[in-house]
Symmetry: none
Subunit: 402 residues, 2 copies
């Protein structure tokens, strides 16, 4: 399907804005969902003149992580393009990833007499572990011709990026975790079942030994465990797949990282949603496609904080006229997955979406909510098809067949 879209894609001067309210979809508390509870006059007005529906990020009943949620929104089949745990961790910590990299998420751990006695090194404070990660970076800048990059995470966490001097094959990251899972057991030795994976495992083994040597006098964090070895997924870029020159506007590193995986430009950015919109406006002439990411909606859903999630939705709605004022050819408002406050986490529920363009039916939904979107002209559809609808509405897809 994606190949067909790529074949039919054509360029034109249209502008597309995809606003993603992370974890937007919800469930009722006292009869009304977060979206139904929130006062959202601007989104409601748009919903009345837009194509609306609900999209299923991965498949019926499947709860998506942020990786598959965003890949689907970007038009890539999330079952075909899976993002490794190490890569996602590295993206979340703001590391740039190249196709010669192997990323690993690591834990500081406590080792005594050859066995792991604490897999999380007593969850040491972040300021302490960050110092240790700096120490590793200073003392292990490379292992042979492999450049090492260490990124501090929260508490016992860190990520390691091993940059090889050449591209590795697909099997290279196929290395089981060294974490023994149970305490009282020795750590596992990194091992690979192919030649390329063996060469990566050999680097990892040296890294573990050198880190242990540097950390051996630490009371708790005297060892590192490595998990989720993964390479950069082989995904066609947004430009290649859709002919779009795209800008990602996101304040959280992971979402900029996901956008970069598909070749979007994703400069570092801090600030509020209003700052994000200002950035959108400032860069509006330079790109075709804008992915604008609003994080806090999801965060409060994850906390089970219904009222705050509602407030964040309302906050976005108040700012929406600033986006509408740009008068994009296609404006889409949706989420990457649902995060109902009553679930306190991501969920499998399809996500409401509205798409405004001159080429929609409209007139089917009275407001923007899960239940109203069900009446919309898109009905329920796989998220991966959203980009097709977007491109079509931007008149960026040629006719198929004569």
């Amino acid at each position: 399907m994606q190949k067909l879209i790529t074949r039919l894609a054509q360029k034109n001067p249209s502008k597309i804005i995809l606003a993603v309210l992370d974890g937007l979809g919800g469930l009722p508390l006292n009869g009304r969902t977060e979206l139904e509870t929130a006062a959202t006059p601007h989104m409601d007005r748009l919903a009345r003149i837009s194509a609306c529906g609900l999209h299923t990020p991965v498949a019926a009943g499947i709860t998506p992580g942020s990786g598959p949620g965003h890949l689907s929104l970007f038009g890539y089949d999330p079952l075909e393009h899976q993002i490794g745990r190490g890569i996602l961790e590295a993206l979340g910590l703001g590391l740039e990833i190249m196709n010669t990299d192997i990323a690993v998420r690591c834990n500081y751990a406590t080792m005594r007499d050859g066995v792991i006695t604490d897999r999380r090194a007593g969850r040491i404070p972040t300021d302490r572990s960050s110092k240790l990660t700096e120490l590793l970076q200073e003392n292990i800048p490379n292992i042979a011709d492999v450049k090492m990059t260490f990124a501090p995470g929260m508490e016992h966490r860190l990520a390691v990026l091993m940059r090889f001097p050449h591209i590795l094959d697909k099997d290279a990251a196929n290395i089981p975790d060294t974490d023994p899972q149970l305490e009282g057991r020795p750590p596992l030795k990194p091992s690979g079942s192919s030649q390329s994976a063996e060469s990566v495992a050999a680097v990892a083994e040296i890294l573990i030994a050198r880190a242990h040597e540097l950390l051996k006098h630490e009371e708790k964090a005297n060892f590192i465990l490595m998990r989720g070895f993964s390479g950069k997924p082989d995904i066609p870029t947004f430009e290649q797949a859709f002919g779009l020159h795209a800008l990602a506007i996101a304040t959280y590193p992971m979402y900029r990282g996901l956008a970069k995986l598909v070749g979007m430009h994703a400069p570092e950015l801090k600030g509020t949603v209003e700052d994000e919109i200002a950035f959108l406006r400032a860069n509006y002439d330079a790109y075709d496609f804008f992915f604008l990411h609003v994080k806090k909606v999801d965060s409060f859903g994850e906390d089970g904080n219904f009222a705050e999630k509602v407030k964040r939705i309302e906050e976005f709605d108040q700012l929406l006229p600033q986006i509408v004022a740009l008068n994009p050819d296609v404006l889409v408002i949706t989420g990457d997955h649902s995060t109902p406050a009553v679930v306190r986490g991501h969920s499998w529920h399809p996500v409401p979406v509205l798409l405004r363009s001159p080429y929609v039916l409209g007139g089917l939904c009275s407001s923007f909510s899960e239940r109203e979107c069900l009446r919309g002209e898109f009905s329920i559809f796989p998220t991966v098809q959203l980009m097709s609808f977007i491109l079509a509405n931007a008149l960026r897809l040629k006719k198929f067949g004569a």
Copy 2:
């Protein structure tokens, strides 16, 4: 897809009840369907607070048999996992099937001068044919090391189970019917195109000859025709596929048999729907998942008896509070296919479903019917996805990707 579900499945103490009203879906007579005509206050109340929709058992326009209808409900792709005719017949006659078995449905027939003059032996009375089947069982307990089990059916019908001492390969049952289809023709000789099928065909040939020898003085039923050679389908069990310990509650052997094919526990049971519910209650602590099958709804649909089908739906509705009182984490009410009285048989129409759990939108349907379910949050979806929704609502599926 099923592999993904299996990979994500996790156990927890939740309880799931799947109530299947066989042939539930209907069509209007004087403007209202069976469900719309029936007084169903309890199902209507549930529909208002449940996720509702319609599911398509096999594909658009396809009328499913009971086998594919139930396999889909159980979460197995009915196109991938096909159940042979012989196996279905044997299940319907209450035979236990092992993976070393080949099942065949047979007809008593009349042979004169080497040709079949009546393919159904004048539809001899069941009590007479049962006696003949007993005769065959007594005289042909085995053929070489193959154990033979004969099961009497209605009128000219019987089933034969050939139990081999070892597992046969997938081709072993690939044996054309011996029924010549037209009277005045000789029966066909059993023949296989692979070595394993040849060995099965050889046993069948001996069986036909020995049966003819035993029956040769019968005026009508002096021969047997064999059809639908089939082996036990290779289906992962419910426990393997979903991590569910499941109990089937059904009074008809075929439905217990279908449940056993996927590894459900399916003890023999007689009685009314109320007896079935009592059995559910008595076993509620011992299982995770309960498949409760209500047959009569379909039976009256098949007879074209609209009023009786309505009554059976009402009867179930009156008993529903007893099921609701168990307070399962997920309660589903649906059918395995539609059997509109006006069609007098199974039909291709999607089947109404309601799913009650704490994680639904609800509030979209005012009652439980084909037309109301169309407004529900599930919309129209493939039946095979129902198990994914069930597992998700039972919080038995881990997140996909990070």
